[in-house]
């Protein structure tokens, strides 16, 4: 099923960006942009206006937490999925308190990615109905 939502993938690893785009396309997302660091991610967020962002936690220029706070400061409706290897409780809570909607630990299985992506789609659909 084709999904018309715009999705931005922000990750400093080219391999992860390629993998996430591939998985997102398999799920049905058609409008996908990528950024290789937090700074470019925010620039693309402003121009592309994605409804969902898959955001790496550790990146050069700006880390995921700073990017998340900037995104949520501009648009609290944007669904943000943190994709990171950070698992310390304190870090996870910081992302949660800063407005992250979902949190996916790397490395992940495709099934888990699909599960989280379905939650993203459901959240976007619900927000669309409410507005």
């Amino acid at each position: 099923m084709a999904l018309a939502y715009r999705v931005l993938v922000v990750d400093d690893s080219a391999h992860i960006r390629i993998l996430l785009v591939k998985l997102l396309k398999r799920i049905g997302f058609e409008f996908i942009e990528t950024a290789e660091n937090g700074k470019i991610g925010l620039e693309k967020f402003a121009s592309f206006k994605p409804q969902a962002v898959f955001l790496d936690g550790i990146m050069p220029e700006m880390d995921g937490l700073a990017v998340l706070r900037a995104i949520k400061g501009q648009s609290s409706e944007t669904v943000v999925v943190i994709t990171t290897s950070l698992s310390e409780r304190e870090k996870v809570l910081q992302f949660k308190e800063s407005g992250a909607d979902f949190y996916l630990m790397k490395p992940f299985e495709e099934a888990k990615f699909r599960e989280v992506s379905q939650k993203v789609v459901s959240t976007l659909e619900n927000r669309q109905k409410e507005s």
Binding site: S87, E88, R89, V92, L93, K96, D101, F102, Y103, K112
Partner: protein, 111 residues
């Protein structure tokens, strides 16, 4: 903190090298703080680290009865006990915040 065994740069606060597993410093037996190998007193609670090491070696080789007569055992005032308990509580809280979470725990948190 740099490991003296393998020169790996470790994150501050760690007790053992993440690469080779060697101890990164002298662990205070009273409060658990990791001190530099050449520190003589604990930077957190002030315990003489020579005593700290002595307590460690004593604990493994002596019975609790003989430890009671050791010079390393002192009488604490109520205020000191309260301070130590507060310190222990803070250390437990710090350790729990650094504790890794599983994806299942994270899913419960995010719903």
């Amino acid at each position: 903190m740099v490991c003296r065994e393998c020169n790996t740069e470790n994150r501050s606060g760690g007790k053992f090298c993440t690469s080779c597993g060697a101890p990164l410093g002298i662990i205070c037996s009273r409060c658990g703080k990791v001190n530099e190998l050449d520190d003589r007193h604990c930077g957190s609670c002030g315990l003489a680290l020579a005593i700290s090491l002595k307590e460690e070696s004593s604990a493994s080789s002596q019975s609790s009865t003989s430890l009671a007569s050791s010079a390393a055992i002192k009488q604490y005032s109520r205020q000191e006990v309260e301070e130590l308990l507060a310190l222990r509580k803070a250390l437990i809280k710090e350790e729990s915040s650094a504790e890794p979470m599983s994806q299942d725990d994270i899913d419960k948190l995010f719903g």
